[in-house]
Amino acid sequence: MIRVQREDFDVGAEIERLARDKTTIGGVVTFVGTVRSAGGADAITAMTLDHYPGMTEDELAAIEAEANKRWKLEASLIVHRYGRLLPGERIVLVVTAAAHRAAAFAANEFLVDWLKTKAPFWKQEETPQGARWVEAQDSDDQAAKRWAKG
């Protein structure tokens, strides 16, 4: 399942809803991405996520399907927020549930790496010096390339 929304999400409730009464699940791995602010001169005071409604949902659904093809998962969920977010606020939730923990961990890290590089979101950061659009990062591309096939 995937959702793209402006509102915050309830991590415990999302996990509970996904995994409840599924006794074939042995491990549930959850990633929550939050707005980080290092403090100091380059402190981020807010972040705005722009996105392409429709295309975002299509790509998240395709990513989720790919993860379910590569690993045997019992359930999976991606929730991604857009709009203006403050430091400490949740941005993204990825939940992967599997009979065996290795699959849940691998699929989750795969999804998170992919989301960071391929999902159609654009970040604008607000700092005391003004607002700036974030450039695509090489290190994130490297993380996603780990998963490329052949």
């Binding site: 391929k118 999902a119 654009w122 604008q124 659009w133 994130d140």
Partner: protein, 83 residues
């Protein structure tokens, strides 16, 4: 044809979307970008270096020589920066 602009393209161009009648010879995203650049300084600045841009047609990433059809939704945006 419906055109969408995201992130700093939206800021520089001054709008998020518009619907245009294109000249008949605009049959690829590359030609579209060259034509859009002639529409004013905001467009010229936003679209000056195609290497900083990506294009999607009907919500799918495509190459600059993709064959456009009437009624396509074309989106221009920078490389995504993720969530």
């Amino acid at each position: 044809m419906r055109l969408l602009y995201f992130a700093w393209l939206k800021t520089k161009i001054g709008k998020a979307e518009e619907t245009l009648e294109l000249p008949a010879d605009i049959v690829t995203p590359a030609a579209l970008v060259d034509w859009l650049k002639t529409r004013g300084p905001g467009f010229a600045d936003a679209l000056k270096d195609r290497r900083t841009l990506r294009v999607a047609v009907n919500r799918r990433h495509v190459d600059w020589d993709f064959a456009l059809k009437p009624g396509d939704e074309v989106a221009l945006f920078p490389p995504v920066t993720g969530g």
